[in-house]
Symmetry: C2
Subunit: 514 residues, 2 copies
């Protein structure tokens, strides 16, 4: 059974963590998944070698662009790359060699040490949806997201048993000026939850603010010596590394904070229409990006990322939960493991406008694939709707419930004497019934995963109660969770420090809305 615990003896997350832990009203959170199952490997050794060779060819002959970033070009030149304008051509083998200093796994510390996560290896850490400018719920429909919505999602994430990570931009708080909203978002993650979280990447200065707020929360020494954020650095595919994202990466790498280096690919638009071609480009981009992180600071923790969707060639719309996206993700997982790096991909992806059957087919396809492809950090694991334009309250809860099934499946199959159940088979015999037998009585509590959202009632009961679909049942759950939310305790001096920092920073800037 998954080890579910709220108190885990672990290296602490600084003084705040230790103090907070004593007073917290803590909701049950499952330990991150530690797979006891194999990965599904779709590519042959031959295919993997061809893709790896081709990726080196891309880096050496075509190269990548580092835009508006003379510092990066200088680092690359010193490392032995050929620079022409903003184009960086990387000799065969150099990028892979530079990547070798990146750790195979790392611990991201939370202010509640029971919620530290180890990213890499056989582990899978689950984090919520990231980035949507809209929210959707059953009552209000689709509308622009606000800071109040943001706080609700952080609360839901804190209370979701199968979610290990609070995430980052769970929705865009569009009612807060663009240049200030990162402060409110970080403040929410730090004070409304005690799970690990992500930092801002929309400007290098905001990445710096994120580090400074962590220094208040965890203590300066702790942050200098430990990773307390994992942040999302997207590559502008094809093969373009812009100065905003690279500037943020530089801040995080220098501070020993983790970054996901992630090509952002809609197949057929930002990469070739073929699986092998897309994997070649993904690998080339990740090699260049992670190599650069190690040029900034050897040993900086990073994740091999791959955000991949396909496209509907009729309409140009991105499509989700598709077989091609699955093939690419399975292949990328193999490539990441051959590099010895943590892997990020998959999520609760769907293109649907509602949390309906389309949304669930697409999401389940992607979640199952994410588990079997060896993903170590799954961003967007719940709440994603409409191609990532919308964070859905109901779908957040529906998806988060399905994540429990991933935990159970990942435990693998026990084969000890109790699991063999020969005594039960003897006891019951032909034509008997297992419900009452001793083995069933001893094991039924942990035997079967059970949804906390789905309907398992008899038809008549279900009908009398209003014949509700999954969205309606999830809406009830959302309300219940928000009504039962209790804020985790935080040392008052730290809370004050964070509030002061946010207020001071906000006062120092004029509002910007672009």
């Amino acid at each position: 059974m998954t080890e579910v615990q709220t108190r885990r003896p672990a290296r602490g997350g600084g003084g705040a963590a230790r103090r907070a832990e004593r007073g917290a009203v803590s909701f049950e959170t499952a330990q991150y998944i530690r797979r006891n199952i194999p990965n599904f490997e779709i590519l042959t050794e031959e295919a993997l070698e061809i893709i790896e060779t081709n990726a080196e060819t891309v880096l050496a002959e075509i190269g990548v662009n580092f835009v508006n970033n003379p510092g990066a070009l200088a680092l690359w030149r010193d490392a032995g790359a050929e620079i022409e304008g903003e184009r960086v051509r990387i000799p065969r083998g150099l990028a892979r060699q530079l990547c070798a200093t990146a750790p195979r796994e790392y611990t991201q510390y939370a202010r509640n040490p029971a919620r530290n996560v180890v990213i890499g290896g056989k582990n899978l850490v689950l984090a919520p949806v990231y980035g949507p400018p809209f929210v959707h719920d059953i009552k209000g429909g689709r509308r622009y997201a606000t800071m109040e919505d943001f706080r609700k999602f952080v609360k839901l994430g804190y209370m979701s048993k199968w979610l290990h990570h609070s995430g980052g931009t769970v929705c865009e708080p569009t009612d807060i000026p663009v240049n200030k909203r990162h402060l409110d978002m970080l403040h929410a993650h730090m004070t409304l939850s005690d799970k690990p979280f992500m930092g801002s990447v929309t400007e290098p200065s905001r990445a710096q603010d994120s580090v400074e707020m962590c220094e208040i929360l965890f203590g300066r020494d702790f942050v200098q010596n430990n990773t307390v954020m994992t942040s999302l650095i997207n590559i502008n595919s094809p093969m373009t590394f812009d100065d905003v994202m690279m500037g943020s990466l530089e801040v995080y790498a220098r501070s020993n904070q983790a970054a996901i280096i992630s090509p952002f690919i809609v197949g057929g638009a930002m990469a070739p229409v073929s699986v092998a071609g897309t994997l070649t480009q993904v690998l080339a981009e990740v090699l260049a990006g992670i190599a650069y992180s190690q040029l900034v600071r050897p040993g900086a923790p990073v994740i091999f990322g791959a955000f991949v969707t396909s496209i509907d060639m009729n309409s140009g719309a991105p499509t989700f939960g598709t077989p091609e996206a699955s093939q690419i993700t399975y292949g990328a997982g193999q490539l990441a493991r051959r590099m010895g790096l943590p892997f990020r991909s998959a999520g609760s992806f769907c293109g649907s406008k509602l949390p309906d059957a389309q949304a669930a087919y697409e999401t389940a396809n992607s979640l199952n694939m994410g588990l079997l492809s060896g993903v170590n950090f799954m961003l967007h694991a719940c709440g994603w709707l409409e191609g990532g334009l919308v964070s859905s309250f109901e779908k957040f809860v529906m998806d988060a419930d399905q994540l429990g099934a991933l935990h159970k499946f990942a435990e693998g199959v026990a084969i000890d004497e109790n699991a063999q159940a020969m005594g039960a088979i003897r006891e019951v015999g032909p034509s008997g019934h297992y419900l009452g037998c001793a083995h069933t009585q001893a094991n039924f509590k942990s035997a079967f995963w059970r949804s906390d959202v789905f309907d398992y009632k008899p038809y008549e009961t279900w009908h009398e109660e209003g014949a509700r679909d999954t969205m309606a049942l999830a809406a009830v759950k959302v309300e219940q969770m928000l009504a039962n939310y209790q804020q985790p305790a935080l040392d008052p001096s730290i809370a004050e420090g964070l509030a002061d920092y946010v207020a001071r920073k906000k006062d120092s800037m004029a509002d910007a809305f672009m």
Copy 2:
């Protein structure tokens, strides 16, 4: 790309088939899936050996019951089993040895030879839902199924591109007397579709009627020498083989017609609550059932079946798409491959009352698992609702659409020069766009699987068109398909022969409703 064809050079399905083929208005049907991907193997060699040893212990020490079946007991006694009352104890190794005469794969012939299917090996044949007494559609809600509903489902199956098989009891036509409905059902499959189908198993005499109707459709010689039906023989788990099912099996095996030998298991009720224990019992039951089929006629085509769900221990309701059911199915697939037998499991399983998000999560979990577990024959691949109580028109179409994604995924990853796409990566370069490049233009038609049901439109368009969910979109598709249905041509003398047979048989019996 999946080979989609309506004309395949293949050994014909008798004179009727050849005549029908010339005049048919034929809807496009994909070739059955031939996997070019590995299977997911969850059990270690050690675990497999323990389960195999334990299954032999079950057969030798506990035994199985063959109920009301003196003939079966005599066959078993002659083969070396120990008989005590109706209990059959099978010495270690005997059942497995008897199973060795069953073929590794077999062809089931259709009256349209382009729709013959090869069951076994790396193939996956998809057949619709089987058995529900109710139907559900968006207009009429949930109600008892009628023969008119049955015919509609056969038509939908005939027109569904990704469905290779017409199935059997797509719903129970409750308006027809119990002892006559098999005649109408077979008549519908034989005349409204030209895909392969299943025979009746509810009485041995009805199995015999099924064989006789096939003799009219395919010709008597053809049926004696070829398999034209694959029928479902359920085992009354635990370890009970009743006379009705075994009587039907005997009819089919003697006629060289195929049978799925399938434990029917709700874990915790008909089998132990543990995965390893359930697999032990499944294997013991299948060994005994398939061994018996080979005692009846060595070489009779059979399938290793496993219908497996878990149970909600709170309410006693069966639950679907769960991690435990997946683990059991993956393990059963490994056991079947070690026996060298075709494998049947998985399907569009769900417990939901509506084709909503719950239904789709559960179904997608099960469909993905079915593909990766090496299933060769997937009954219930579309249309299953409410724990198998209901055949849903909308879900039939939604699920059948998802089956297209399985086809595409199963093709595996091409690694030839075109797939490597190095020319495209060179052409586009950093910061470019792939939509217009030559490689994209040359490959876009076959590059990405696309749903024919899901919504891919911009939000505004979708909203203007009524903000329809997946069920509403599927309902439109159901109406369109039924409106466009055209019956495949059939030789008039055969059509007359079938109609006469049905009328004559019906006249020979009083109506029975139990």
